[in-house]
Symmetry: C2
Subunit: 263 residues, 2 copies
DNA sequence: AGTTGTATATATACGTCGTAAACGTACAGC
DNA sequence: GCTGTACGTTTACGACGTATATATACAACT
């Protein structure tokens, strides 16, 4: 086929004619990139939720056919992992922007590795609150993707935590246990913090906002009464408090704890 | 239409003829029920994972057209909530089967409410390990479904935890904070416990099983080294240890904790 | 210049999904 | 018998993920 006939449809601006093609759209070369795609995906999910993220929709967002995305993500699952990665990259930025651990400044009661773990936890907390719609992915993908296949930024985060624990002098077993406690606590805390409570957003009265009126009355008296308090957030203080408690316990050097709470 | 002609297609066994209809299939009345549907769904998910659960597939599993399910679940999301409910019902069975809290037997160091919280946590842990594929739903639906709309079994579970905390003498604020800590810890711990680690199941060597050979070497030395230890489980002991630590902290009566770990 | 190779985006198509709407069919009570 | 209602089926539609084949734009080489 001849070359100058270049597809009259799709509002092309030929050599100087009218039909208004988008600026710097000549050709469709190099419009996309993995970064642009992930940024757009994250924005879309932040704006409209995870269920709004489809290949076609994201393509439309970027003025591109859905299939074009497959050049930058092997599958939709890979795209989701990309989102997880993007969030972890933002986490790294936040950590870099923060005050750092300023070694030598450790107060009497808190060694550097401990305050740094708190800094990590808090930065994770804040990053998650900034992208609440993505949080489900953090747990979901963690259960689906084996360690070695996780995005590099995630692995770097693991490495950071692990390094701090080992620098604290913990042996392999204990640092692994503490690692799991740290990871689990932060994830669980954030999930609870972001759990859906509000049922009817435009209702002014707190009880009605929560939709307590259509909860079984007799069967759930305490929950009904506690709901409004439960709907409040624990904030970063709660996160830090729990983390402190867990670190105290899991990094302790004593051998076996002798509590058998069951029976 | 006459009645004895009853649909020759679909392998019917008429009044004594051949084509072999399933036993007690005369008519298709009352084959389904919400219980049957949820049981089958849970079984299917346990067997083949969440992604295998579609209305059509579940219908086929029950020898029914997909649309028939909509009589027992208003939507697929409602079906997922039903799964969450089913798991919580199993949790209640497990609790009922267990030894109960036997009041008056509280040891010197552990009041009844505390050991009962441990029992709840442990039963949750075991139920989750019995249905690992459903665990993602626990976090996911908690983020999607507002409190008042959650399945009754879930709300009953909340009520139980809350009751224990209030019976321990905690005021509204503190019991809410402890409730969140409890919920978050159990959920987070289970998620970490179930996280995907194994990359190549049929590999005998632990390192190769984890797929460590295709992780960036230089950048992640500690993680690489710690991975095999990390792949081990914390078990119920880890769950109990963390829970103890959190309960100690969150139920303490002192006013404000004065730790500012960040800087 | 023209040719060729490769990176990039499109076009088309297939099977599956959730589910709205209309329809049949079996039982319960009259 | 007749009639209403609970139950399951049929059909259809639009959206989804993605395999495959194709068109286009740029770079490099001749």
């Amino acid at each position: 086929m001849a070359k100058e006939q270049r597809k009259p449809r799709r509002k092309g601006e030929g050599a100087g004619a009218a039909p208004a093609r988008r600026a710097s759209d000549r050709g469709r070369y190099g419009r996309l990139s993995r970064e642009r795609m992930l940024a757009s995906a994250l924005e879309l999910v932040d704006r409209e939720g995870l269920s709004a993220l489809s290949m076609r929709r994201l393509g439309a967002e970027l003025d591109v056919e859905a299939m074009a995305l497959y050049r930058y993500a092997a599958s939709k699952d890979a795209l989701l992992d990309g989102l997880v990665e993007a969030v972890h990259l933002q986490l790294e930025e936040r950590l870099a922007a923060g005050p750092g651990s300023t070694p030598g400044t450790a107060s009497v009661e808190a060694p550097a590795w401990r305050t740094e773990l708190h800094r990590l936890a808090r930065a994770t907390y804040e990053t998650c609150l900034a992208h609440p719609q993505v949080v489900p992915l953090l747990s979901t993908r963690m259960l689906a993707v084996p360690l070695a296949r996780r995005p590099l930024a995630v692995l770097r985060h693991h490495e950071r935590v692990l390094t701090l624990l080992q620098d604290a002098g913990l042996d392999a077993t204990r640092s692994a246990a503490t690692f799991r406690a740290f990871t689990g606590w932060v994830l669980g805390y954030v999930s609870v913090e972001l759990q859906a409570m509000v049922d009817n957003p435009e209702e002014p009265d707190p009880s009605f906002r929560l939709g307590l009126h259509n909860m079984p009355h007799q069967e759930l008296p305490r929950l009904r009464e506690a709901a409004t308090t439960l709907a409040e957030r624990g904030g970063p203080e709660g996160l830090a408090a729990g983390l402190d408690a867990l670190l105290d316990r899991f990094t302790r050097v004593e051998a076996e704890r002798a509590h058998r709470p069951d029976s």
